[in-house]
């Protein structure tokens, strides 16, 4: 018991940033920046107050959705969006596989790697809407432009995550297949593909429902689908129809998300 008389030794978790000057400098710096940034926003509170009133009217008119009077247009828009979504996901998936293989450092050679990473970077740095604007300018209004825009964006997303999955693949399994005298294609098919397949299917399912969400946005810039229908409804101040469209989009997104999560849970 006599040892317990010794002074208790204190222990504290070492700070994340060890240098105190740097640590406090960063904390104070960020605080000051945040205050200055907020102050620079120049908010007109009277305008905000008036806007609240307008917003309430808006919300109220949304309370009674009208599925009937423009039912045909809504149905057509949804079908167009779904076609666009499925086509864009499938094409994006097919094109992303070779690019993803090329962009995985552990199975690719440097020139191919750089090329594929380049394609991915371009695809990912351009937002769907920006691509859609270009495509509308090239191909004219309509779902074809939307399809191209979504497929283009899907390539970057799927290829990047596929490449990362391949880079994390277990080396020993691939090595064992290589040691049998397999060709490169056989090696990918037997040693690599089984390792990335569940993830690729999961990602494609996820991309399918996010493409549907994006399809309603690219429609706003003229690339067809339910977004175009929504845009028209807003232009005509038919908020009840717009409300019906938004509700439909929400229901479809929920259904897609639920089914994709079911499929992903069953994969292993």
């Amino acid at each position: 018991m006599s040892e317990s008389a010794a002074a208790p030794r204190v222990w504290k978790k070492p700070p994340f940033i060890e240098n105190p000057a740097l640590r406090w400098g960063l904390i104070i710096g960020f605080t000051v920046y945040f205050i200055l940034a907020f102050a620079s926003m120049d908010i007109n509170w009277i305008r905000v107050y008036e806007g609240l009133d307008r917003g309430l009217k808006f919300v109220l008119s949304f309370m009674k959705p009208d599925f009937i009077s423009r039912g045909g247009a809504i149905f057509e828009g949804i079908v167009e969006s779904l076609v666009m979504t499925v086509a864009a996901t499938v094409v994006g998936l097919i094109m992303s596989v070779p690019i993803g293989l090329g962009a995985a450092r552990n199975i690719s050679v440097l020139p191919v790697y750089l090329l594929c990473r380049g394609i991915i970077t371009v695809s990912r740095s351009l937002n769907e809407i920006i691509v859609a604007l270009f495509m509308v300018a090239i191909f004219g209004f309509g779902p074809f432009a939307g399809f191209i825009a979504l497929a283009f964006a899907s390539i970057g997303f799927l290829a990047k995550l596929l490449a990362e999955e391949i880079e994390g693949a277990e080396k020993s399994q691939a090595e064992a297949v290589r040691a049998t005298g397999a060709s490169w294609m056989q090696w990918i098919n037997y040693g690599i593909q089984p390792q990335f397949m569940p993830r690729l299917i999961g990602l494609s399912m996820y991309r399918l429902d996010s493409n549907f969400r994006h399809s309603s946005v690219v429609g706003l810039v003229g690339a067809g689908g339910i977004g175009a229908t929504l845009n028209t409804a807003f232009d005509r101040y038919e908020f009840d129809t717009a409300s019906a469209i938004i509700l439909t989009i929400i229901i479809i997104v929920m259904a897609l998300e639920y089914s994709s999560s079911l499929i992903r849970a069953r994969l292993q």
Partner: protein
């Protein structure tokens, strides 16, 4: 049958993993390669089938110098070298049958392998081998559903279906319990005897090696420091390979085991 001449591997970091190894292994001989971790055992066997590129020297398998082969000739040559791995290295999400048949990839074209349409002779041989190594009726199980011992049996079948002349075996028992380890070692040596295969077996367990092989090669920092029959492994030799330690227990154990085996055979 296999001849290594001044075989050397220097990693980009400058580490000399395999240092000027010269040795010859005749047809049908099973050799244990022992040595401390980091002695270059794994690197040495991976340099033979060029999963790791050797820096200099030659590895000659039946008059073919493996170190100078182009990629297509190398693939052909790899078919004659079956490899068995420490952590089994099965493709986890493929079935047992697909794993075994993957040993035939060097012999069949891409589309056949893609559609899993292997020649009937390969399928027959796969079933025969699965029975021989003791995993009959497991053809359609996924590899990750098997126990360690069963997985290593799949690994052995995959190596043998290549119809190899040489087996490169990397720590086949390191992740197995002592009983399974013995069964696997026995299976490997029996199969080598049945088929007249030469084998290089990297192994940590000196006692186990002594029980099953006819020749032991000791590697230390990439150099051969011992080459002889297992009986010649004295405490002095083991100290030379691994460093100072009390080796009597290890060797005694071997002698007891030796008797055990003699009894079992009789």
């Amino acid at each position: 049958m296999l001849r290594l001449e001044n075989f050397t591997k220097r990693y980009l970091t400058g580490d000399l993993a395999v240092n000027n190894v010269t040795l010859e292994i005749p047809t049908g001989q099973v050799v244990a390669l022992i040595g401390p971790s980091g002695a270059g055992k794994s690197t040495l066997i991976r340099c033979i089938n060029r999963l790791v590129e050797p820096t200099s020297g030659a590895a000659i398998l039946d008059d073919i110098n493996l170190t100078v082969l182009g990629s297509s000739a190398l693939r052909k040559a790899r078919r004659h070298m079956g490899m068995i791995f420490q952590e089994y290295a099965l493709v986890e999400r493929l079935s047992v049958m697909e794993n075994v048949l993957s040993g035939r990839l060097g012999y069949v074209g891409f589309w056949r392998s893609w559609f899993r349409k292997f020649p009937q002779s390969d399928i027959d041989e796969a079933f025969r081998l699965m029975e021989r190594v003791g995993i009959a009726d497991m053809a359609d199980k996924r590899a990750d559903a098997l126990s360690g011992g069963q997985r290593q049996r799949v690994g052995i079948a995959r190596a043998l279906i290549q119809n190899p002349k040489l087996l490169l075996v990397d720590e086949p028992t390191a992740s197995l319990d002592p009983k399974t380890a013995r069964q696997i070692m026995r299976l490997i040596t029996e199969l080598c005897a049945e088929r007249g295969l030469a084998a290089i077996v990297n192994i940590h367990d000196v006692a186990l090696a002594q029980m099953y092989v006819e020749r032991v090669i000791g590697l230390r920092t990439g150099e051969v420091v011992f080459d002889g029959p297992p009986e010649d492994l004295t405490p002095e030799v083991l100290t030379d390979i691994y460093g100072e330690e009390d080796w009597e227990a290890t060797i005694e154990e071997v002698e007891e085991n030796g008797e055990e085996i003699a009894e079992a055979v009789a």
